[in-house]
């Protein structure tokens, strides 16, 4: 009963100063879209980084003249290093098979392999670490090892630079997101606060009379709080629609930029839709309600 009344009054007030209400809703929408967009971006870049970090490893290529005993020794030494998760040896035959598999779309190479030109593929040891950042020290430990003589190449540097690119991108996206979201939240708070303040001034006499005939604080405040929450609710719905459209149209570009075939931005959005809407609602309703609360606290005796 009291809630229905609050909703009704909140709606009427929304309509009465509709331009300001629209501005408040618009600002709120902008804020939420920005926040959601950056959260999504940051999440997806994170996700990609994780996928890449899973993949990152060191390949140690071994000279053809190395003996099995030397290789075994190297393998044991690597296995004893801290933070090594996995050590896998690839023989010439396996390497060849893998190469053959990877070259399937190019029949010329297959033909060459069939003609016996595959003999030069070296044996290798592939190392994975629990934490990709410790790969660097593992790589340098291998370079200093007594078995270094049997190693032709430790391939670490290449993968590292691409990972670094993703990590710095994540940081950039996160930072930009925080700054913009913070700025927009601030503006949204100011606009909503002023809208509620205007409502309080418009209804000053009415509120005064309500107080004089014995209305409780809550009875008077609820419609005002609801008005703020309403801006949030409308904004949450609007921004979900906008985000949906935005993600659909920006997704190919983003997926390309993130440059990973195992990741589709628009799928990621849809998979997390309920979570996104939930967070949107929570943020918008909290911000709206909070602004109303502030305005009431300041301007309602």
């Amino acid at each position: 009963m009291a809630i229905i009344r609050g909703l009704k009054i909140g709606l009427v007030d929304f309509w009465r100063n509709r331009w300001l209400s629209l501005a408040a809703t618009f600002m709120m929408t902008l804020t939420i879209v920005t926040m959601a967009m950056f959260t999504l971006l940051s999440l997806s870049v994170n996700q990609t980084t994780k996928i890449l970090q899973e993949k990152i490893d060191i390949a140690v290529f071994i000279k053809d003249e190395a003996t099995d005993i030397q290789i075994q020794g190297l393998q044991n030494e690597i296995g004893a290093m801290p933070d090594v998760k996995e050590v896998r040896f690839t023989s010439k035959e396996e390497a060849l098979a893998q190469f053959r598999e990877a070259s399937k779309p190019r029949p010329v190479i297959i033909r060459l392999l069939d003609l016996g030109h595959g003999g030069s593929i070296p044996r290798s040891i592939v190392i994975k670490a629990n934490d990709p950042s410790s790969l660097e020290s593992i790589a340098s430990a291998i370079n200093q090892s007594q078995y270094n003589v049997i190693v032709t190449k430790v391939s670490y540097e290449e993968s590292k630079s691409s990972i670094d690119r993703y990590i710095s991108m994540t940081h950039f996206v996160e930072r930009a997101g925080w700054v913009l979201s913070g700025l927009f939240i601030l503006i949204a708070v100011l606009v909503i606060y002023n809208t509620i303040r205007l409502t309080i001034f418009m209804r000053k006499t009415e509120i005064e009379i309500m107080q004089l005939v014995g209305a409780t604080g809550w009875y008077i405040k609820f419609p005002l709080i609801f008005e703020g929450v309403l801006y949030g609710l409308i904004a949450a719905v609007l921004s979900t629609v906008l985000l949906f459209i935005g993600v659909k149209s920006a997704s190919p570009f983003i997926t390309k930029y993130i440059d990973s075939n195992s990741f589709d931005f628009s799928h990621f959005f849809i998979a997390n839709l309920s979570k996104i809407i939930g967070i949107e609602l929570l943020v918008s309703v909290l911000v709206g309600g909070f602004c109303s609360y502030l305005a009431i606290k300041k301007h309602l005796k």
């Binding site: 005064e208 009379i209 309500m210 107080q211 004089l212 409780t216 604080g217």
Partner: protein, 225 residues
């Protein structure tokens, strides 16, 4: 029931109420008189806790109302009905809505409101005006809406500030009769006025204010200046 104990109210350096003490018992009908600016409305504002005194205590039903918290205040106000000097009707609500409003704020159920409002409108003689807007009514009618709203809670105390302010003698008497009727049913009535004829005809207790001080308190009083 109501006791003012050395109550003062200053606006800046100006004393609107200056060291006022009196006691009103259950069922009394008290008129509060005095020239314009003598502090009648201020005294009423203190009694309904719209203003806080700058000194003294106001005890109603054993409770010092100057110490009411903002949480307790609404519940105190529901026990008193006030007819304001300027009516304080909501211009965008109909007569019936204006009266119902006082019930709704105190969480009265819908059916109860529907039953009580016509009843109280009939009592103040506005049975057919329920759907009118306040600005379609005469001053006397608006006054009665204000009375209806004050009464709809069935208050223990009815305060009327200048209810006959702008009314012709017939209207004035109708309203005074109404207040009498309400008083007979056991409600304390506190009537502030500077209408000499009314006061002299009432033959009730008269408290006379001048410059914020009580200058007379007579059991069957006359308007003296």
């Amino acid at each position: 029931m109501i006791e003012f104990i050395h109550v003062s109210k200053k606006y800046g350096t100006h004393s609107a109420i200056n060291d006022v003490s009196f006691f009103i018992d259950r069922g009394e009908f008290v008129t509060l008189v005095g020239p314009s600016g003598s502090g009648k409305s201020t005294l009423i504002k203190l009694l309904i806790a719209e203003e806080k005194p700058t000194g003294g205590q106001i005890v109603v039903a054993g409770r010092d109302i100057t110490t009411l918290s903002s949480r307790e205040l609404p519940f105190y106000r529901r026990k008193i009905g006030v007819v304001f000097q300027d009516y304080k009707l909501l211009p965008h609500k109909t007569v019936a809505e204006n009266v119902a409003f006082a019930l709704e704020v105190s969480d009265t159920s819908g059916p109860e409101v529907l039953a009580k409002v016509p009843e109280i409108l009939e009592m103040v003689g506005l049975k057919d005006k329920g759907k009118s807007m306040p600005d379609e009514l005469s001053g006397g009618e608006q006054q009665r809406v204000s009375i209806a709203r004050a009464l709809v809670h069935q208050p223990k105390l009815l305060i009327a500030d200048e209810p006959s302010g702008n009314l012709d003698p017939i209207n004035t008497w109708e309203i005074i009769e109404l207040l009498f009727k309400i008083n007979k049913s056991g409600t304390i009535v506190l009537l502030a006025t500077h209408d000499k004829e009314v006061v002299d005809a009432l033959k009730k207790r008269v408290i006379t204010l001048r410059d914020g001080k009580i200058v007379a308190d007579q059991v069957k009083g006359k308007y003296v200046l």
